[in-house]
Amino acid sequence: MNYRIDDRGYYGDFGGAYIPEMLYPNIEELRNEYLKIIAQPDFQEEFKSLLKDYVGRPSPLFLAKRLSEKYGAQIYLKREDLNHTGAHKINNTIGQIILAEKLGKKRIIAETGAGQHGVATATVCALKGLECVIYMGEVDIQRQAPNVARMKMMGAKVVPATSGSKTLKDATNEAMRDWINNPVDTHYIIGSVVGPHPYPEMVSLFQSIISEETKKQLIEHTGNDQPDYVLACVGGGSNAMGMFYHFLDDENVKLIGAEAAGLGVNSGHSAATSVLGKEGVLHGSRTILMQTEDGQVTEPYSISAGLDYPGIGPQHAHLHKVKRVEYVSITDDEAMQASLELSKLEGIIPAIESAHALAQLKKMTFKKEDVVVICLSGRGDKDLDTFMKYFNL
């Protein structure tokens, strides 16, 4: 089975570039250039050196002993939460900012939901001295005030998206509209494995460092680069794609993606796209998305703003369809309890997004010798407000 992209920019039935003609030159330029630029030695050198000295990679692969004991398996955490800015998002923005520079772009735009990708983008723009404009839903600006302040401190302009439901999907629309109106000097740094081809492929390539390191680290820990299970949470799906990337063809490694069920898959307040979605087109790619019978995009819900997205990346849609990855749904309550559990057992406060992957442990049965890797995509600092309210701290 082929899980990878084909030369038309599709993963099976999913992907492509459903974009208005105004975006065609930009997308075409990227499509023609990105692989060439990424393959250049000076790109690779700068990418690797920034990941090492600026981001702090390789991120540790940590054997969580007390968690392992509780669930009766060998559970390893891939510590993306220890990256500079606190999540995996920066792997992608480092890659894209170098690319943008090589394409001669002077201005960077991005969308953000929780603000993690916005912060990671503002960070690399400050690092490179490039103008930075971040689109963020008006509702999210209020929910995520500390991240808005971070972006501003680093010199980014944060523009409220006031259209539609005023959240992540609308911020993405606004960023694309900005790009349509500024086609020549601007690069759009998309924050997940979504959008028109080649974005999903490019972002997963930059995030694939997660599984590349994990394989090497597993050999050091266990002598075998193939674990039994790999788990990651799925919003748009970038940390999951990075975590799955080098395991896709290892068919004996079970891959599990945890989506946000919100208040429950059938509650009407959910973001479990693989269960609730249907095939269609969202933000420039053919994928699975939550929508009405008439094809209007419906508003998702999750307690974690980073999973609050009505679609999944096209490669996830494909991996779902061909059943290479099992997608599971985790409710707000399950994720919150898992956050508390990891904090108490290991002294690590995870992002609520990442806790969706952790919460799946409870629903599985393991053999003692099973090796399980979980992508800890981010740290919980940004979620303290939510934790305080939820647990009455």
Partner: protein, 257 residues
């Protein structure tokens, strides 16, 4: 022959097309607006079917889509309303909207329904050339629908030729790379771009759209193309006035003046 082709054979310049969103400002407005536009002298119409996430549109048309959805407009409702189209209107009518609602309806079903009610063509800004050619072209052709593609100042000559080859109605020339509702680009460079396209001697007529809002911009567009499309300015007028139908003759008269 399709009505669009007849129009372009009869009329070579100053062609005026008006865009409006179906179901805006009220659900039952669609055909009433269409009738008023024909009576007032519009040459052809673009009826928008609304989408929740209209990427290529500015705030005015976004809002009209949003209101139309709230009013209950769907493709099903629209095709129901358009059953009376050809008993009321004789000028060409195009449907304009985004790929996702059309895909949910089924592209083949969509094309059949469009033909049945007497629609002449379709504009779907986010349906790319490649997918159109590979997946959907036969549905369009067998239902005698023109598929209209957009061209921007950044579109390469090679691609314009390809678009011309695949088009069978007109080419929708954008005044600049922009979302709908920006002012018409009036820089000198834009004249060069229009002339460049004009001098390519394409088989399809050229109609300029995006940023045409008044008599001046309409006239300027007609220096280079066979006609022009007014969208945002018209939708704005519909939203401003309680008696939206009464405004239509005056709106068209001012643009034509």
């Amino acid at each position: 022959m399709n009505r669009l082709k007849q129009l372009f054979e009869k009329k070579k310049n100053n062609i005026l097309s008006i865009y409006f969103t179906a179901g805006y400002p009220e659900i039952g407005a669609t055909l009433k607006i269409a009738e008023a536009l024909e009576k007032s002298g519009a040459d052809f119409l673009e009826i928008g079917f609304p989408y929740s996430d209209p990427l290529a549109d500015g705030p005015v048309i976004q809002k009209s889509s949003h209101v139309a959805i709230e009013n209950g407009m769907t493709l099903k409702v629209l095709f129901e309303q358009l059953k009376d189209l050809r008993s009321k209107i004789s000028i060409p009518v195009l449907l304009m909207g985004y790929a996702n609602p059309m895909i949910q309806f089924g592209v083949s079903n969509f094309c059949k329904a469009a033909k049945e009610v007497g629609v002449d063509g379709v504009i779907v800004p986010d349906l790319p050339l490649y997918e159109y050619e590979e997946l959907y072209k036969d549905d369009f052709i067998s239902n005698r629908l023109s598929n209209i593609f957009l061209v921007t100042p950044q579109t390469s000559e090679e691609r314009i030729r390809k678009i011309d080859e695949l088009s069978n109605g007109f080419i929708y020339l954008l005044s600049s790379s922009s979302t709908t509702g920006k002012d018409l680009n009036t820089s000198d460079a834009i004249g060069d771009y229009y002339n460049r396209v004009k001098n390519m001697n394409l088989k399809n007529p050229l109609i300029i759209g995006f940023g045409i809002s008044d008599q001046k911009s309409f006239e300027r567009a007609n220096q280079y193309a066979n006609g022009a499309i007014v969208g945002t300015a018209f939708v704005k007028t519909l939203g401003n006035e309680n008696d939206y139908l009464a405004q239509i003759p005056e709106f068209i008269r001012k643009i034509r003046a």
